[in-house]
């Protein structure tokens, strides 16, 4: 195994594209090193992207923020303006693991590891975030909900990696939130996670919404039907119940050591309602 720490995106691309033996990108390392130690992966090359400016910067862009793929959750949380703009995304990133994990784990890594239960993914999808990918074929910007194709699988092609994630501008009277269920208070992988972002019009009715749910399917799911239950009306109990029902309807979880099918579907609905109310309250107060 080799370890390299390129200084530029192009150097990283040529290292990744130039190796047959399962090259891996290293950002925070909180998934990669666990897999390495457990013997699940045996890469010939590890490419540490933390020396590249673009992957470690948080920059304002078009009213939103471009967050480098390797920026740690701790730094995201400490960024005051970003936390005010997208509190749901930040609280999702803040939920990954412990304080120690937060010191290293990144949203880019969380996305690319493509666990069905990844915490930031439903929140990023709800926010309408996009990723900047860089590879031998050039650059492309992809909505987050298109990145993961299955457990541990992404659309990244040979030599390609995520450089940054763009959190878009947010209008006034909008808010986002993320909730997950875990059996303890910390340190668990999400049994279910739901992210909601919604906007209110001048009339107090919902003008836009995005709802995403994680850990109930091979990938996190954008749930258009749940958004439709909210859009165009007052977000009252009936609308929220309909929204929660739509979330439950798309769940196709498995039984595993972290939860059963029935339990995940039930709690997905419960969390959907709760997180919607938080997003609503945040929207109302901006």
């Amino acid at each position: 195994m080799r370890y390299e720490a390129p200084q530029t995106v192009d150097q990283a691309i040529s290292l990744l594209a130039g190796t047959d033996g399962d090259p891996r990108v290293l950002a925070g390392g909180t998934d990669l090193l666990v897999q390495l130690r457990a013997g699940f992966i045996d890469p010939e090359l590890i490419v540490d992207i933390k020396q590249i400016d673009e992957t470690t910067a948080i920059t304002a862009e078009d009213g939103g923020f471009r967050v480098g793929a390797a920026v740690s959750g701790a730094r995201v949380k400490e960024h005051n303006t970003l936390s005010l703009l997208w509190p749901g995304v930040v609280e999702a990133a803040d939920l990954i693991g412990s304080t120690q994990i937060q010191g290293r784990a990144s949203m880019g890594g969380n996305l690319c590891n493509a666990s069905p239960a990844a915490d930031t993914v439903p929140a990023l999808i709800a926010a309408g975030a996009t990723c900047a990918l860089a590879g031998p074929g050039g650059r492309r910007e992809v909505p987050v909900e298109e990145v993961c194709t299955g457990p541990g699988q992404t659309i990244l092609s040979n030599g390609e990696f995520i450089v940054s994630i763009l959190l878009p501008a947010r209008g006034s009277r909008s808010g986002d939130a993320y909730l997950r269920f875990i059996p303890r208070t910390e340190m668990d992988i999400a049994v279910v996670g739901v992210g909601v972002s919604l906007s209110l019009g001048a009339d107090g009715q919902c003008s836009a919404a995005r709802v995403a749910v994680g850990a109930v399917a091979p990938t996190a799911l954008l749930v258009p039907a749940a958004a439709e239950a909210l859009i165009g009306g007052v977000v009252d109990d009936a609308a929220i119940d309909a929204m929660a029902a739509a979330v439950r309807a798309v769940c196709r979880p498995i039984d595993d050591k972290r939860g059963t099918v029935a339990y995940r579907i039930e709690v997905a609905g419960v969390l959907a309602g709760r997180v919607c109310r938080i997003a609503l309250e945040r929207a109302g107060s901006t």
Partner: protein, 774 residues
């Protein structure tokens, strides 16, 4: 040197006397090393020329081992030794010895440390290598070829009892039961305790409740994995450094398995990063010694966390049936229980202790507990803090609570009405000595926690727990230095602060500053035999040994003073750190301090040493009553413990902070056991949650402060009245929490853990039933 089994009288009487050290919160003498990272645990030792050892483990839950080919591994450059079952002689049947709270069968042990005929659980050790570094050792393991014939497996104890179940040990004969000759079984033992006639008792009852319960195996989850460094030399002598609760016991096991004279092996206990019973047995150590013997170099071995979960003993999972009858005015008339505990792949579950403790907090005329020890394809269980009792009392304390509810009686009042006292016939045989069950119940009842109102939606539960505690073989020595300071040599491994309490008793006896006593845990060559640290015995038995050693030292000091003054030794007393002439001799005889006598010891007769060796008897049992408040998110089934109080009888708290620490630590382990901890297996008998991510022990944010009340009903067999306290705290929590949930939700839980999916399912079922009924 004294070695009687009598309790030395000492200075302490445990009846409220004012002490200078005992009862204070002195800083522990080994503390600075622990807060600076200097203290050396099992994996912290480096020796020159040291190799790294690793173990190849079975991927199958049950399989014949047809052959093992180690040739490629042995040929790998950097590999210095490879061992398999061929490197260990078999041990004869019937080689059974008591050790700690479990009996040891060496024929089973040699098979557990390295599989012989069969792999009996996933994770069972098959072979081991020693190499110059970890990478080469890992590669060597991958080159070992094992020909397995996979067999059907069974991991559930009830299924293992059925005819037709896969048989784990073909030659097993059930103790305590009739068995047809030639009939193979997985039932290793049947035990029965009790007195009276439960049928008569149930006939007297106005209310009878009968329930079945299940619990899952849970692991001690000590934060430090097993680790050791072994060094065998060309002359057949060996040194072993290991993380253990008992280095003398480990020495005996390793000497037996390696065919060595016991004294050829010198064993040093490292600091131990948690044991709770799980480090009373050997796993890596015989392997490391065997590898070292082959390689003639030191070998370090340390388990990964995954190995700890896959290959070391948790405590049993169980199936329990409990039936209790009581009159309408709250008198229990009969109690009956059948406990089926899984032992893992070899006999030895703590079902007997569970059966003995099950109804211990009650004075009963008619009681019966029956226990079965059952083999399954899982790691051999190891002791876990009051082994057997928490499992049994989860069931019995739940049923007791339910009966109290049915007859409309306060649960503590119900327990008080049936509480045992000194002289009561215990449910398992002996009459109770001086005990504090009633005192803990009353203190719990009168506590602010129990008196304070609950918030809406919350529930409150109580439960009482019991553990016998033990004494055992213990030796201690006090060596007087020439400046009057004292070295206290102990053989009882310090798992959580006993160097402090034992030093405090020594200082109290001698009447000197605590600062003048330097304690250390000696290696196995330094003292007479010391049984392992377990059974909550160290402050009790260690205290007796230390007080005895101090009295022995004082005897010699008085002799020297008497000689110096030329008066009869009966006219010399020892007080406040000095020898004083009494009986009218005082006028010209100034008191002689410890320093003065020490300074002149060469002239007065030579080195001065106090020693005491005993097999301590008369350990005082400890009762504890817990009060817990819970909150439940009724839409997700998540349970929060919002308030927790432990009330427990310590006899005498030598160092109150460390007594409180035992109460708090055991309670939180119990909270984890109640709400989230369990082993999860796939259909191939393989563990799915072999790590701290999915084996969910409580984290800091999961629990509130744990309030404690130390009740002191002195134990007359100890010079200061000490009772062991370490184990009782884990006995009540699961039932207390289950009872609190019953109070909050009106639902009785009968299966551990009471994790969110189970709680939610029960809530929905109860709501569904209510809807149907209405």
């Amino acid at each position: 040197m004294t070695d009687s089994n009598e309790t030395p009288s000492g200075n302490g009487t445990g009846n409220g006397k004012d002490y200078k050290w005992v009862g204070t919160r002195a800083v522990r003498p080994d503390g600075v090393d622990k807060v600076t990272g200097r203290a050396k645990f099992g994996a912290d030792l480096h020796l020159p020329n040291m190799l790294v050892g690793k173990v190849l483990r079975s991927p199958h839950a049950h399989a014949h081992i047809r052959s093992i080919d180690t040739s490629a591994a042995e040929a790998l450059s950097g590999v210095k030794a490879v061992i398999t079952r061929d490197d260990f002689s078999d041990q004869p049947k019937g080689a059974v010895q008591p050790a700690g709270e479990m009996t040891i069968n060496y024929r089973d042990m040699v098979r557990n440390v390295m599989a012989r005929e069969k792999a009996l659980y996933e994770g069972h050790a098959i072979a081991a290598v020693a190499a110059v570094d970890a990478r080469i050792a890992a590669k060597a393991l991958s080159l070992i070829k094992v020909d397995f014939e996979v067999l059907p497996h069974v991991i559930d104890p009830v299924a293992a009892m059925e005819s037709g179940a896969p048989i784990i040990q073909e030659d097993l004969i059930t103790e305590g039961m009739e068995q047809s000759p030639g009939a193979m079984t997985n039932i290793a033992k049947r035990v029965e305790f009790g007195h009276g006639d439960v049928a008569v008792g149930f006939a007297e009852a106005d209310v009878v409740i009968e329930r079945e319960f299940t619990t899952q195996p849970v692991h001690q989850a000590y934060i430090e994995p097993h680790a050791c460094v072994a060094s065998m030399t060309e002359d057949g002598q060996g040194e072993l450094w290991l993380s253990t609760q008992g280095h003398y016991v480990a020495r005996g096991h390793c000497a037996t398995l390696l065919g060595l004279d016991v004294s050829k092996l010198r064993v040093q206990a490292s600091e131990i990063g948690g044991g709770f019973g799980g480090k009373t047995v050997v796993y890596l150590e015989p392997l490391a010694l065997a590898l070292s013997r082959k390689a003639c170099q030191p070998v370090k071995m340390a388990m990964t966390r995954e190995e700890v979960f896959r290959a070391t003993g948790p405590t049993s999972g169980a199936h329990l049936w409990v039936k209790v009858g009581a009159t309408n005015d709250g008198r229990i008339t009969a109690a009956d229980a059948v406990l089926k505990y899984q032992a893992g792949a070899f006999p030895g579950s703590p079902v007997a202790q569970g059966a003995q403790c099950a109804f211990a907090p009650y004075e009963l005329n008619h009681v019966r507990t029956v226990g079965y020890d059952i083999l399954v394809n899982r790691p051999k269980v190891a002791a876990y803090r009051a082994p057997g009792a928490p499992i049994a009392e989860y069931a019995t304390e739940s049923v007791m609570d339910e009966i109290a509810g049915v007859i409309g009686m306060d649960p503590l009042a119900f327990r008080l009405k049936n509480a045992p006292k000194q002289g009561s016939q215990s449910s398992y045989g002996p009459k109770f000595p001086v005990i504090g069950c009633i005192e803990t119940l009353e203190a719990a009842r009168d506590h602010d926690h129990y008196q304070s109102p609950l918030k809406a939606g919350q529930g409150r539960g109580v439960a009482t727990g019991y553990w016998f505690n033990i004494g055992g073989q213990t030796s201690a020595t006090l060596n007087l230095s020439e400046d009057g300071s004292v070295a206290l040599v102990l053989g009882t491994v310090d798992v959580g602060g006993t160097r402090a309490s034992l030093s405090m008793m020594a200082a109290e006896e001698l009447g000197i500053d605590l600062d003048k006593v330097r304690p250390m845990i000696g290696d196995t060559s330094a003292l007479g035999y010391n049984m392992l640290t377990g059974g909550s015995r160290v402050t009790f038995a260690g205290g007796i040994a230390v007080v005895g050693a101090a009295q022995d030292l004082i005897g010699t000091l008085k002799d020297r003073a008497a000689k110096f003054w030329d008066i009869p030794v009966d006219d010399v007393e020892w007080a406040e750190g000095e020898a004083r002439a009494t009986n009218g001799y005082t006028d010209n005889m100034q008191p002689l301090s410890l320093q003065e006598i020490a300074k002149d010891m060469a002239k007065t007769g030579g080195p001065i040493v106090g020693a005491h060796s005993i097999n301590a008897q008369g350990a005082g049992p400890s009762f504890g009553t817990h009060v817990v408040d819970v909150d439940v998110d009724r839409e997700t089934g998540r349970v929060w413990v919002t308030r927790y109080t432990v009330v427990q009888d310590a006899g005498k708290a030598i160092h109150p902070s460390y007594v409180e620490g035992q109460y708090q630590g055991g309670a939180v382990q119990g909270i984890g056991w109640a709400l989230n901890e369990e082993y999860i297996y796939d259909d191939k008998g393989r563990l799915e949650n072999a790590g701290f991510l999915d084996y969910r022990v409580p984290v800091c944010s999961d629990v509130p402060m744990i309030d404690t009340v130390i009740v002191e009903v002195a134990n007359p067999t100890h010079p200061y009245g000490v009772r062991g306290v370490g184990e009782t705290p884990i006995v009540p929590p699961m039932a207390a929490i289950s009872n609190a949930l019953a109070n909050a939700l009106g639902i009785r839980f009968t299966d551990l853990p009471m994790s969110p999916p189970r709680v939610l399912a029960a809530i929905k079922a109860a709501n569904g039933a209510a809807t149907t009924a209405s």
